[in-house]
Amino acid sequence: MLEYIAKRIVQAVIILLGVSFLSFSLLYIFPGDPAELIFLVNSGGVPPTPQELEELRAELGLNKPLLIQYGNWLSKILKGDFGNSWNTGRPVIYEISQRFRASAELFLLSFTISAIISFILGILAAMNKDKVIDHICRTISLLGISIPNFFFSLMLIWIFSVELHLFPSFGYGKLENYILPVTAWVFSGISIKSRFVRATMLEILNQEYIIAAKAKGLPERVIVLKHALRNALIPILTYFSTSIGHLVLGSIMIEVVFAWPGVARFFIFSVFTRDFPVVQAFVLLSSVAFISVNLIVDLSYALIDPRVRYER
């Protein structure tokens, strides 16, 4: 057990190092001199003199070897220092924490609702394979992965804000502000999740112990709820929780369309204004969120189910 935990943690640390190096090197993908880039962005396009460039390099430590720069950058980040935003001059971590709440609210609400709906829909579809409810479930999930969420969001705004005047298309804080963004998110969320619940349930319903339970003459409801569901629960919960890691993906387009004052919209704004420290921090933090959720899920899975420890 301890060995498995140690192995898994070492693996996560290696991935974290790789991801951090990738985020760090974003600044160096820019062809030419990063110091010149930093100067150009901050001066609004006025080219630097050679002397100014030299000073800036010394100031930022850009004249040192790449790996040493990476080490310095990483050791600062481990202390929670992501540098200052070039736009506002305030620490990046402050700017992000200011906007974290709005994003988290939107996410938790959408995630909970989509998890509940997917769960019920997936089980109903599996129990009624090839009947009406199953077709509805499959159609929803096919549409959900095919309709881009920004287009779905715009249609919601067009129908419910512009035409029917029911809900506002932007704004934050009041209950009515949450309805359209959450709906948009839930729609794309249930498409993949309900499909997974359905597939998992179908697989378990084909197992021998289910056939044995059927042969015993147990009612369908008891078989599904007592025998199948209990075994399906672990893979379903695992899948749901790893999808937490993808929270940033769904949020980017939805926050932009609904002008939501969250972290993802701030990221897009920073990309447009070439605010490199914020862009680096966002790439790194969104990956860290994904990696840590996966690690926690894996470890708790190993605690619950001993088979996992030996398999991998």
């Binding site: 990738l22 997974f196 862009v279």
Partner: protein, 268 residues
């Protein structure tokens, strides 16, 4: 599956023969701006009086060209990467496997947006930058699947037998490994085209992708969002075009998966 193939056929036809189907998508006509759909303009006109039907038809060419380029590049690179990693194993697999893990841990769209934003600063936004930025994250799903398949295939006895009679690595790869992984890769590629089209249009919608006046579905949607009250068709038609095209690739891909009998767990 046939429905999917039909949709793909229509979109490919529109993209290839745009000149014969549509009018000039660049022609500005300020006296006819924001016209609603009519026989003269099937999809109406946009904020510059350009014929929206023509822009959507030419948009198919843009999206397909980009999506197919990105899919082919990621497929070749990712498959090679995964095959080398899985086949040679040992230290090579340790290193390559970790690289795959790293790329799987970064949310794709976040890195796509960051890359396009940074690269366009020096090169301006070009199709090449969009292809590179999306392929940069997209290859990894091919690498993961091919690596997994190769790892399991090379344990089979026929590979051992080939080795025993002195077959070279290249021969084994060509004769035994590739024929066995081609099915999953084709299914993945078909389903992948849909995701890539969504990624391209997302960048376009954010204003980071293909720049106007070049017709691209995401870019048209982006300008349409400002005219929801007066001209919702500017947003609706390119949106439907994306949704229907992606739907076509998804239906076709899922059909292929069943026909080629690729296990669901491998590709979901």
């Amino acid at each position: 599956m046939n429905k999917g193939l039909f949709i793909i056929g229509v979109v490919v036809f529109a993209g290839v023969f745009a000149e014969f189907i549509a009018k000039d998508p660049y022609r500005v006509d300020m006296s006819n701006r924001l016209l609603s759909p009519s026989l003269e303009h099937f999809f109406g006109t946009d904020q510059l009086g350009r014929d929206l039907f023509s822009r959507v038809v030419y948009g198919a060419r843009t999206s397909l060209f980009l999506a197919v380029s990105i899919t082919i590049i990621s497929m070749i690179f990712g498959s090679l990467f995964g095959a080398v990693s899985g086949y040679f194993g040992g230290i090579i697999d340790d290193v390559f496997g970790r690289i795959i893990d790293i790329f799987l841990s970064i949310p794709d769209l976040v890195l796509n947006i960051a890359l396009v934003g940074i690269l366009s600063l020096s090169y301006g936004t070009s199709p090449l930058i969009i292809i590179f930025s999306i392929a940069f994250t997209n290859w990894v799903s091919y690498a993961r699947i091919v690596r997994g398949s190769v790892l399991s295939i090379k344990e089979h006895e026929f590979v051992l037998a080939a080795k025993a009679i002195g077959a070279s690595n290249l021969y084994i790869l060509r004769k035994h490994i590739i024929p066995n992984i081609i099915g999953p890769v084709i299914v993945l590629a078909t389903l992948n085209v849909g995701n890539v089209i969504i990624a391209i249009s997302s960048l376009g919608f954010l204003g980071l992708g293909i720049q106007p006046p070049t017709p691209e579905w995401g870019e048209i949607l982006n300008s349409g969002k400002n005219y929801l009250e007066t001209a919702p068709w500017i947003m609706l038609f390119p949106g439907f075009a994306i949704a229907v095209t992606v739907l076509g690739f998804n239906i076709f891909g899922e059909g292929l998966r069943d026909v080629l009998d690729v296990k669901k767990e491998i590709i979901e």
